[in-house]
Amino acid sequence: MTSQHTGEMPAISYNFAYLDEQTKRMIRRAILKAIAIPGYQVPFAAREMPMPYGWGTGGVQVTAAVLGPDDVLKVIDQGADDTTNAVAIRGFFEKTAGVATTTATTEATLIQTRHRIPETKLSENQILVYQVPIPEPLRFLEPRETETRQLHALEEYGLMHVKLYEDIARHGHIATTYAYPVEVAGRYVMDPSPIPKFDNPKMDDCPALQLFGAGREKRIYAIPPYTTVRSLDFEDHPFKVQRFAKPCALCAATGVYLDEVILDDRGGRMFVCSDTDYCNARQAEGHRGEMAAPVSSSGGAVLPHPTPLPHGEREQGDAPSLTLTARGAPEGAGEGPFGAEIAS
Amino acid sequence: MNMADKAPHPNPLPHGERESGAHSVSDAPDNAMPLTSPRGGEVGPQGRVRGEGAETRGPILDVAGVAKTFVLHLREGARLPVVSGAGFDLYPGECVALGGPSGAGKSSLLKMVYGNYRIDAGHIRVRDGGEVVDVASTAPRRLMKLRATTMGYVSQFLRVIPRVSALDVVAEPLVGDGVSREEALATAGALLARLNLPERLWSLPPATFSGGEQQRVNIARGLIAHRPLLLMDEPTASLDAANRQVVIGLIEEKKQAGVAILGIFHDAEVREAVCDRVIDVTDFARAA
């Protein structure tokens, strides 16, 4: 897939969006079925993709099947457009489909995502494609696929509540913070992929079509536009989203999902928007958080976004206390771009 | 012929493991029990005996043409006849003893009446309210109901139920009849007191009681609820003289209340005190 510099080898040309047309037809049929049965996991013949499982092969195949030449593609990973995974997938479609790409949520017609739903409300002419590692919400308690299929077929979802019960019994509250199970259109219980439960309400009655692709598990499922999506809970332990004590340290946004960024090994940290596009747009509009640089007269440079901890580590409450370097920090930015001198 | 010595059937379980259910308050029959009672009482020539004080309402128990043979398949199909052509009546308010030497089949016959042993021929009809039930041919469920409401069995041995107190063991049949637990326990306590069972034992499971103490618990359990027909297998075998007198009194009261009693009374004193007549099973055994 890499470009050739050897000269004698012919340039490799790909079918539009890499997959052959028959494969795309097969995937589209699965998608149509998934849309027709909201929340139901439709098996499909997932192909080997030129990237390892766990890197979004399911989402990539779904995207490839629905992508058109006029689409504008955005790819995000944990809210960021500029992480390795997002960059790689964006590059993949630029190369194989030649489509336009963007980081702006509002400009995109197709958004492939891993672990987040954009903060900006989606619209009817958008499709959100999720990368899904484990599509089966009941897998935690029931390892047999034959049995979980049966449970879905018969709408036996007591087991799902057993998991929530266990959470409350062990932690005093529903400690599941991501991949929080939802009931779709009053029927199927679905794993929303490892998005934070903060994003769950965004799935409900969403104007955009939401598609989910699991490559290793070979499943596709969907939430059609304007579908009721309800997070499971107990009467006396209702579903609640995370709240953050402080606004985004960079753009001062409230009511958005924040990532914790550790600044040093002395306990210094900051909370910033997980959605980089949203944060950058707000900063461009002049919003300033407590640790943001003052508006510069020259160029209005947007402060680069630091790398957050991956969800899994943070949410298990045992995040290693390692200092992460700022992602995308300009060369020679020096030590501690978000240090005290900036904040003060 | 001594049936007991020939082990007429493979006797299954040790006492401790046999537990009673609603269907069976009695211990399992035990043919190995030595019966040394002399024969006594008058026996009719046909083996069909009727007491003089019989009521005109008709018998509560009508045994006719009963035959039973044990077939021991494990011993090349050896056949051990027990009784043949056994027949007699029992009327409300009378107490009748089964007599005959050890091994004559008294215990076996009692168990046939209770339905514990199945019979090869004949009828064992028990009047249950307005209905007559043939123990020999009725459905198991009907027999269960008959035992629960009409036909009680007081055996020699208490079948100990682990972890259940003596008081509860005694009260259980009353509770089963729908009496409140409180009232049943009070009645049970009164009965145990009358039988001179020290009150400190009431709350203990009877497993560790002496033979006499267990038998008194067993008698109390067997007599606490009203059953129009009572079968008693050596109810006083392990009792001292004072307690035998108490049991005689209890049996008299049952008779006064119109209960018909069929029993094996090894003890001559008790037999003479309570029995109106004796049916000698020797003839039934001889016929077999």
């Binding site: 308690l141 049966q150 077929a153 018969l154 709408e155 036996e156 007591g158 087991l159 509540h161 057993v162 019960y165 266990e166 409350i168 019994a169 062990r170 107990f234 009467e235 006396d236 332990h237 | 059937h9 493979p10 006797n11 299954p12 379980l13 040790p14 401790g16 493991e17 046999r18 537990e19 259910g21 609603a22 269907h23 069976s24 399992a28 029959p29 044990f70 077939v71 021991l72 398949h73 494990l74 168990k111 339905g115 514990n116 042993y117 199945r118 198991p140 469920r141 027999l143 269960m144 109901k145 629960a148 409401t149 139920i161 682990p162 972890r163 259980e172 049949p173 509770v175 089963g176 009849d177």
Partner: protein, 268 residues
Amino acid sequence: MTDQANQALAAADAPLLVSEGLSKNYGARIGCRDVSLDIYPGEVLAVVGESGSGKSTLLGLLSTELAASAGRVSYRMRDGVLRDLASLGAAERRLLMRTDWGLIRQNPADGLRMAVSAGGNVGERLMAVGWRHYGNIRREATDWLGRVEIAADRIDDDPRSFSGGMRQRLQIARNLVTKPRLVFMDEPTGGLDVSVQARLLDLIRGLVSEMGLAVVIVTHDLAVARLLSHRMVVMRHGRVIETGLTDQVLDDPREPYTQLLVSSVLAA
């Protein structure tokens, strides 16, 4: 087994479960042949026989875990109508199994969720039938743990930390929490120490009587059958060879095989 069991027996004269000509073949081998029997409300039926006699197959057929090669099983639904279980849809049958029926397996690990807390194990059936109030579920689970003599402070421990006897008691609580009318038990005391067995049997006996449960219990242990059951079915080579009240069959066994079974028990 007095108490309400007797009243239930007297009151309900219609069978709860009826099997007719039930057969199951495993290829050429016969698992179970032409078994017809009735189980009435509040009645405990023991199925005895040695390994390979077909008793477990029969239990599987009665509980619809196995599909019959011939014959049928009917069940009197709560509305009083006797229905052929094969005519029920999968959803209806499974609902029946997790509400009106219980199934106690010999190995508690097969009947419990070993990675789920005791409370979750007991609460699962409640959640399955729509309980959605955590506090109520927990209260009910605590109550049931008490009834099976598991200390309330073990409610959040998972069964892996429980002894064999405790696991089996937990399995019983998990099954009885929806107040079923019919419970299938497959060697419930198998593999337990004798003292643990006695306690468990006593517990089962009490609950069966108190709740007026109908029970089909498969056991090779005649003492268990004697303690718990009203009626008994003796199986050999896949067929029922002898039936009757439990004390009849045990005290006056007629068939050669039954006599062999009964005489093979060691007197302690």
